[in-house]
Symmetry: C2
Subunit: 155 residues, 2 copies
């Protein structure tokens, strides 16, 4: 695995139900939306048909953005009124679209993971729809500095 | 006001305590982090010293990104296990940094708004630190299509 990931961070990412995905359009302007996802330690998968949609998948801005620029960022975080409890994990990587019936069976396995994590997907035909795959190339995290900590770096 | 904003959407944005801000680096890769913010209907303000920091403000990635590319996006959303209750509002705009003692007194007013919304800021010296100002140029929102709705567009 190319990325440095301890068990606690892995669990933090996997346990959260929603993350926010940033993509960049052809004109270099960013977009950001909430997504449901699974993370296997190397790759993030997110169905682009997770919720009722009224447009074709390839017309979705996130899909058009990924086609133009595969660099994406996903943040998973905790907000709390006690700001000592704040925490976020930022995953950066390269996104692509995978389709049903791919050679490696990757789409089917991703659907399975998504349905394991989200019971909501079990009644939805996500097996027939494209999935965003993010190959994670870097992880950064931040939490408030506590006594005895090394310097926490922040973005 | 250049943007189309109804009272319900305004309240949705203002009532939330955390949003996620996407910026784009010089190499056109995105970043995204949780931020605290206020919104006056036209401009978003966010202190870049909202939490304990260990690096100088100008070294923060979000500040470097804004210097390289002022286009930003901020999402404010609700997640719920009942996916009929999902909702998000996406604000896009142009970011810049404002400093204490500016001619228009904008920094001081922003600090006041931030301290009104977040009691946590009242004991913090955000009046001495830079603030990110986002001039909002567009708002999009999404919620699941309900019976009788027009088509909901999604990113």
């Amino acid at each position: 695995m190319a990325i440095d990931l301890d068990e606690d961070t892995l669990q933090f990412i996997r346990a959260h139900r929603v993350g926010r995905l940033a993509t960049v359009a052809r004109d270099n302007k960013p977009s950001v939306i909430p997504i449901c996802y699974v993370f296997d330690g190397e790759r993030v998968y997110s169905s682009i048909d997770e919720k009722p949609k009224s447009v074709a998948p390839e017309q979705l801005k996130r899909v058009r953005n990924i086609s133009a620029n595969s660099a994406v960022a996903l943040v998973v975080d905790d907000y709390a009124e006690d700001w000592n409890e704040l925490r976020y994990v930022l995953l950066v990587g390269l996104a692509s679209i995978i389709l049903p019936g791919d050679e490696d069976d990757e789409h089917r396995k991703a659907v399975q993971q998504l349905r394991n994590k989200y019971v909501q997907y079990r009644d939805m035909e996500i097996d027939k729809r494209p999935i965003i795959r993010i190959l994670v190339t870097g992880i950064k995290q931040w939490a408030p500095k506590k006594k005895g900590d090394d310097d926490a770096k922040e973005d």
